[in-house]
């Protein structure tokens, strides 16, 4: 059974392999609703999202979070630390400066405004690299109260590089809770999470387009994320991946068309997503990649 929804600027699909049809569809729809919930919460372009609320309020007070959102922030900050700042959810000003506009795609959220800036607007809005910098060191998580607060001015969140994976992890958890034992979920084909294996197979086989040392990955109860700089570019040609360490789209992976692509596999789509972006910026695989996660660059490239 195939179910799909439009969210986070792309198409999410669920392939459910086994079960009674009514129950399976209901479980799949609950998983799609989970994706829609996170679409509504994590969009930084929708003014009524949680992220927009935090971008307004967390400068002034500690805002309570639910468990899932707190865990998302906790993971995001752990990758920020482990990647030495190559992955950073406080990068919204940089992404905006690169000219990226919201997608009109939404998950049952009704009409969504398109604010695609004109070229001259982009030129005016683009700050100098240094003035655009805001980093996750200004995001303060309180583990006893499950709150988040920004401790420096200028912080603005963009969870675009971790949101798809998070939504997929949450959707997969919903499926498992309702007894689904075999499923593949993906967001835009670049983020994947699997439950079990297809009937009669040893795992979900995912083919990688391009020149990889392993052309087909076999996933069982695991996730995958692929990130590369050519997947999305703004109208001005800027990469959607920015290097927060230098304040713009100028890291090794963002510097040129044809920069190496990287795929990350591991237990969590959320972490795989975040690390795929981090490694694309870093251009190498650091020792701090968590246990249980593997990464490889296309053409075996790693500097």
């Amino acid at each position: 059974m195939l179910l799909a929804t439009a969210a986070m600027g792309t198409r999410f699909e669920l392939t459910l392999a086994a079960g009674r049809s009514h129950d399976l569809r209901a479980a799949g729809e609950a998983a799609l609703e989970e994706i829609a919930i996170w679409h509504r919460r994590l969009s930084r372009f929708a003014p009524d999202s949680l992220v927009s609320h935090l971008n307004r309020e967390a400068h002034h007070r500690a805002v309570p979070l639910d468990a899932e959102t707190f865990a998302l922030f906790d993971d995001a900050l752990s990758v920020w630390r482990a990647s030495n700042g190559a992955f950073d959810i406080a990068c919204a000003p940089l992404v905006t400066a690169s000219g990226f506009a919201p997608s009109a795609t939404s998950a049952e959220s009704g009409p969504e405004p398109q604010r695609i800036p004109s070229p001259d607007t982009r030129m005016r809005a683009r700050p100098s690299p240094r003035s655009a910098r805001s980093t996750s060191d200004a995001i303060e998580l309180d583990r006893t109260r499950w709150t988040v607060k920004f401790t420096k001015p200028g912080v603005s969140l963009d969870l675009g590089a971790i949101g798809k994976g998070h939504a997929l992890d949450c959707a997969a958890a919903v499926l498992v809770a309702h007894g689904v034992t075999s499923a593949l979920l993906h967001g835009g084909t670049s983020s994947v999470v699997t439950i079990g294996a297809p009937p009669g197979a040893d795992g979900w086989r995912v083919a990688l387009a391009g020149n990889w040392d392993v052309g087909v990955l076999t996933l069982v109860n695991s996730a995958m994320a692929i990130s590369h700089t050519d997947s999305q570019r703004s109208a001005s040609g800027a990469s959607h991946i920015v290097d927060p360490r230098v304040g713009g789209a100028r890291g090794p992976a963002a510097s040129a068309v044809g920069a190496p692509r990287v795929v990350v596999t591991g237990p969590s789509a959320r972490l795989a997503d975040a690390w795929a972006t981090a490694l694309a910026v870093m251009g190498q695989i650091p020792d701090t990649l968590p246990a249980g996660y593997q990464a490889r660059f296309e053409n075996g490239h790693a500097t």
Partner: protein
């Protein structure tokens, strides 16, 4: 301007913004989060999908503390307690009322047919109550809740969100000032879903999928349309006198008897008619209400709203600078939130769409009423009437015969 002095153009835009605020801007003046001291302690009864959405909005409000969660289904209760820091769990709302006298306010988000007993008990125990819409699944229960609220000394707000939504509040004034006479109304709700919820425990199937149980469900007319139809009641200031309807199972042929697609026609005493369509088989267009008037049209989509002027309608000075969006061949003036401030910043376009979902504003109004004594945004009586309209509309669908609406006293 580099010298800090406003240019003539800036001045005109700001002035236009101020006028726009007067004419088409939602009233956000009172929309900042109330900050009660000490915090208002709130309990949630019903930890399903709507309960989760309610928690997400309550967590945004400074001065609100979610202290207790109640659900009869252990799995749902555990899941919610895992999400919320510091809340105490209860399997029975009476235990919550007895053991947590400090919880001053309750939000009721259980299946509709279970509302009455819980609201009765909560109001009887001296608690403030926000009851999700519709209030009940039978006319008797709706009237009983309204009667209990009228006896209570505490707040009882019905969860018809349009009455709290800043865009809708401004649109309500525009219907009279800009549209002049109403010609007709259209509303629709399009979603693609089976409306079936997964249940890993077969013994819970009926409880979980109560919307598909014709013994207790009021169908799309009661559960979905009633919320939108109440906007028409509120804007017109009156209720329809007659409802026609029909329903079909167009897509989800899984043994259900509750239609997945309905059409309604509601008629007012003065001849005004509302056409309503809802389906669970197609998601195009989502949920909108459109009010057609002699001088223009207002289209509402919960966080967004537009005013379309007729070419022969009088033009106001502020319209030159209003933010507009193209809808096919028509240009709509966007109902902008907080436009006065945004215009002063020269960034009116940034205000497209409300800063919170509609549910937030309804809950915020409830918190304000519970803590300050401000009038409720939607009283139990208004909620009962809107719920009864939905129930009667469902009867028209099921019975395939027109239903007359009683005159509400």
């Amino acid at each position: 301007m580099s010298d800090g002095q406003p240019s003539r153009r800036d001045f005109m835009i700001q002035a236009a913004g101020a006028l726009t605020a007067y004419a088409v801007v939602p009233d956000l003046a009172g929309a900042t989060s109330p900050v009660p001291t000490p915090p208002l302690k709130v309990g949630l009864i019903g930890a399903g999908r709507q309960g989760r959405a309610i928690v997400a909005e309550l967590q945004k409000m400074a001065g609100v503390e979610l202290c207790a969660v109640c659900d009869t289904v252990a799995g749902r209760l555990d899941a919610m307690l895992g999400r919320v820091k510091g809340a105490e769990g209860f399997a029975d709302h009476r235990a919550l009322l007895g053991q947590r006298p400090d919880v001053a306010a309750l939000v009721v988000a259980t299946p509709t047919h279970l509302h009455r007993a819980i609201v009765d008990d909560a109001l009887g125990a001296g608690r403030h109550v926000y009851c999700e819409s519709p209030l009940a699944s039978t006319v008797d229960d709706c009237r009983a809740i309204a009667a209990a609220a009228s006896r209570a000394t505490t707040v009882c707000q019905a969860g018809f969100q349009g009455r709290s939504n800043p865009t809708y509040k401004r649109a309500q004034t525009l219907v009279r000032s800009e549209l002049r006479d109403l010609v007709s109304i259209e509303a629709r709700s399009h979603r693609k879903t089976s409306w079936r919820f997964p249940s890993s425990d077969p013994s819970l199937e009926r409880l979980v999928n109560w919307r598909l149980d014709p013994d207790v469900s009021t169908g799309l007319a009661g559960e979905v349309a009633a919320q939108q139809l109440d906007v028409a009641h509120w804007f017109s200031g009156t209720y329809p006198v007659r409802i026609e309807g029909r329903g079909e199972i167009r897509h989800h042929k899984d043994g259900r008897t509750v239609p997945d697609t309905i059409d309604l026609q509601l008629r007012w005493a003065d001849g005004l008619a509302l056409q309503y369509h809802a389906t669970l088989a197609n998601s195009y267009g989502a949920q909108t209400e459109t009010f057609y008037g002699v001088n223009g049209t207002i289209r509402l989509a919960w966080t967004h709203g537009w005013l379309f002027k007729e070419p022969d309608a009088p033009t106001q000075g502020w319209e030159v600078y209003a933010t507009r969006q193209q809808h096919f061949n028509s240009e709509g003036i966007v109902l902008i939130a907080n436009a006065t401030q945004l215009a002063a910043q020269g960034d009116l376009k940034a205000g497209i769409g409300l800063p919170h979902p509609s549910l937030y504003y309804a809950l915020e109004d409830f918190v304000r009423s519970a803590t300050t004594g401000a009038p409720v945004a939607c009283s139990a009586e208004e909620g009962a009437r809107a719920s009864i309209i939905g129930i009667l509309a469902n009867q028209a669908v099921i019975g395939r015969a027109p239903v007359d609406v009683p005159v509400f006293g």
